[in-house]
Symmetry: C2
Amino acid sequence: LESSSWDGRYALVVAGDIAVYAAGNARPTGGCGAVAILLGPNAPLVFDRGVRATHMEHVYDFYKPDMSSEYPEVDGKLTIECYFRALDRCYVKYLEKMGRVQQTQSHDNLDVFDYLCFHSPYSKLVQKSVGRLLFLDFLRGHASGLMSPKLEALCGLRPEETYFDRNVEKTFLELSGPVFHQKTFPSLFLSKNLGNMYAATLFGCLASLLTRVPVDQLMGKRIGLFSFGSGSSASMFSLQVLGDISHITQRLNLVSRLTARRPVSAVRYDQIMALRESTHNAVDYKPQGDIKNLSPGTYYLDHIDSKRRRYHAYHP
Amino acid sequence: LESSSWDGRYALVVAGDIAVYAAGNARPTGGCGAVAILLGPNAPLVFDRGVRATHMEHVYDFYKPDMSSEYPEVDGKLTIECYFRALDRCYVKYLEKMGRVQQTQSHDNLDVFDYLCFHSPYSKLVQKSVGRLLFLDFLRGHASGLMSPKLEALCGLRPEETYFDRNVEKTFLELSGPVFHQKTFPSLFLSKNLGNMYAATLFGCLASLLTRVPVDQLMGKRIGLFSFGSGSSASMFSLQVLGDISHITQRLNLVSRLTARRPVSAVRYDQIMALRESTHNAVDYKPQGDIKNLSPGTYYLDHIDSKRRRYHAYHP
């Protein structure tokens, strides 16, 4: 929309992925979901310009190198380190840019955000992240009112030494509790119900926030967003609620759509995954399963032919 | 660079791909090459704004659905049809936009371009494409001077009926010969020497043109570019030479770099490809081959570990 090639049309962004794991500890964290975002002029949600902060690294924390499987190679501890390092770098850079754009430093700390959404592999990591941002404010001397002998001992730490520091984590989880519950907790509604959605997760959090906080309370507020993808690539950016969003939350209709889900047992889920495994990269294949289980208006994969061309059909 | 997030830095675009085919007729058309493009302000090559024309279709003409192989599924005839249809649509749209931007229709035909580069799977298709654009000018009544009883018989044709019309093709190949040799032939130097480079092909053509036409002759001229990728996605756009480009052509140094190539026999090439096939998706693998064959300053794949992580090394 900022390009000289823009001709006035709306843009549609669809974010989704395949968030499944091999049988084992990680499997229950997998989830399902996709988000569609309409971009255009005169929107009620307006991105702040000139403040987006990005951090990238080449790292093998989570990747899918085995072409015969859709399951990833995962190094969970390394992902947490990458996530926190990216969070640290993006946050400091975001505040620096915001200071330049606003030409004041009135909010050079967490107060810059009224609400704050994070990429959410699981909710606990998000809660720790809010604690971490308060810890960074504290290290920079910008967390007003935080002072105690116990805290003084943490003053000299460098952020990169503390990714797995249990004392720092526990201390700032507690201190940030009220901030987390006010600014971030409402954004975790979908994550808690759907698990990790990978590419859709962050904007699922935004959808949750818009739904779970009363619309009039959001008006004029700034929402921070921290986007993260393993490998790794992360950005912190923000938007402001400058118009009525009630038509958006009505269409999202999250609660009734979540209620319409049909539960299946873990045993049945494993059977479904086993079928997926055995038909991955299949040729001349027609997916099994009852079309009646699809929501009305769903496009679905009808069959794959001998040259692996995929044909889709529509469930009215 | 047009984004409000641009902070003044240069951008680097690298275009490359794996252009190899299974043993058979298509194999000799495969090629090798990559192009790096530096983008920034005050460049001697300046893109025209507001005229880029794009055409996209969902089509299985060329794709790589077999994860156990790096060879594509190819339907060559369908690709030609897609290429010509995209060319037709982009060209008409480009001229329409150029008319709007210039607010005149002074050049509502091929004369809008002083030079013209095409995505070049092989040179013959490019030569036919120049003929095709002249045919489109003729159908639109914008090809001045083209009139004969033989041509009158072609007046009522619709472009979409003529993708494989031998008479149209032959007629306009002949008529467009001088235009092809003046505006496009110099751009095919790398294609003719290197074969198809896929993503690098079009900008290889631009590099060829800048090298093969005397620098002072290019000054102030408009170069049209037609980009095409199977699947399919195509754009026509253009740039003007508005500054000295001699430092670019010197660094490209195409002729001496082409001369430094080492020929291998077709039999040896097949052996190399057989090795690639047998080690595709390999685990715990160290590539074979003599590092001495690499150009000085090359980064190369040293080994792949048990988790398929790739480690690179540098040949000084």
